[in-house]
Symmetry: C2
Subunit: 247 residues, 2 copies
């Protein structure tokens, strides 16, 4: 499958990791298995905006789920290698059991939208498409103080309002890295990102919560859970990212 990586989705000239994931998974979906249930991506190298290709390989086609490999390439080099289990999710499913609660959020009007160009010349492309409104109390670089180190929560949805199951793949990687809040500058490249899709989001604003547990030995985990407007957990994501603490 030939694809075109849109340069409006770039950060510092490189396409957003969640955007790449959405591109890599979209061609796999079928009428019988229209939803990704589990998506595991390993990032090998960052492509440039422009033409690229997605190579697909169905590993097993079952009645309940199918399992696939997806490879995003550019210039003959693998950029993102992904395993995907797809199947049907019931949009009206309710929890049989749950221990998950969305974080308590301030009203939307108290949460300013994150800017796609926070400082002149530095563009965070996905924020032109994603309406992200962090709880200022969880983000030190917005509020100047914070009470929740390693935790950021936000209202979030696609610009157009509706957020599809596929959009969750990029929303799971749309919040600012927790390193910013730890006062650590610089780039936090994703090495591995796994997204579990647990439900079809109801219309309206989503709430996302990102947490980290450990920054050690050059590596950081970041977890992102997303709940829909009915308070149902629809997405659980976790990534391993490289981060070298400046000496």
């Amino acid at each position: 499958v030939e694809i075109m990586l849109d340069d409006r989705w770039s950060i510092g000239g490189k396409p957003h990791g969640g955007y790449l994931l959405r591109e890599a998974v979209a061609p796999l979906l079928t009428e019988a298995h229209p939803h990704p249930l589990a998506v595991s991506a390993h990032y090998l190298r960052s492509p440039d905006p422009g033409p690229a290709a997605v190579e697909l390989d169905t590993l097993r086609e079952g009645r309940r789920v199918s399992q696939h490999r997806s490879r995003l390439l550019q210039g003959g080099q693998t950029c993102v290698e992904t395993l995907v289990t797809t199947g049907p999710l019931d949009p009206d499913a309710e929890p049989f059991w749950s221990s998950s609660e969305p974080p308590v959020m301030p009203p939307l009007e108290d949460c300013p939208r994150s800017l796609a160009e926070p400082v002149p010349g530095f563009r965070i492309g996905h924020l032109d498409f994603v309406d992200l409104r962090p709880d200022p109390g969880t983000v030190r670089f917005i509020s100047g103080h914070q009470t929740t180190p390693g935790r950021v929560s936000a209202w979030v949805q696609m610009n157009e309002g509706g957020s599809s199951v596929l959009d969750l793949l990029l929303l799971a990687d749309a919040l600012p890295p927790v390193t910013f809040d730890l006062g650590l500058p610089g780039w936090v490249p994703t090495v591995e990102l796994t997204v579990l899709i647990r439900g079809v989001p109801a219309p309206g604003w989503l709430v996302a919560e990102q947490r980290a547990r450990l920054l050690q030995d050059g590596w950081l985990d970041e977890e992102c859970d997303i709940w829909d407007s009915r308070g149902r957990l629809v997405c659980q994501a976790r990534q391993l990212a490289g981060y070298r603490v400046p000496s």
Copy 2:
């Protein structure tokens, strides 16, 4: 690589998922990149004990990390497809920042070892190799009551005492499913399992904590974190498992 799946590692006649993962990852490790950092497995079908093969493909060999595909096959059919990022972990690394705390555990002598044959004729093979001692207060089927639905904690180590980085891949899938504690019987087959290895375990007992967030629409997540005897987070795992609630 030809391998032999040991039937002593079976549950209900089928090899343990974490054992399969350790077999699939072991042949990838090299002197330069001796540790799996991120392992993402999708389970297609369950092999039988006996001869099997692991097919390896190195996707990218870098200075800091390498990225690989590993495929466990039996009779020409793919059973487990895995992506693995490997690299070197510093055994003496200390957290630069952490929000992770191991659960408070009762003393070891108050936590009876889980039996490999809890009822005659039903074998949980890995419990012959893994010394698992759950906190009785977190496991209803041990204590008859429980205060922590959806959460089980345990002392755990390999029988021989030392637990290697590779052993963490199976220890991350060694605790009883939380469905047992919800009073739900039956099989909880893993569809996807991602393990992040965050450190080299120090000698001695590990502490593991397993949690679930949501059982809905036939799917359950289970998360397992493991800390070493020095209280350092060494493993973060999460799986998606199928579970049909009996009607």
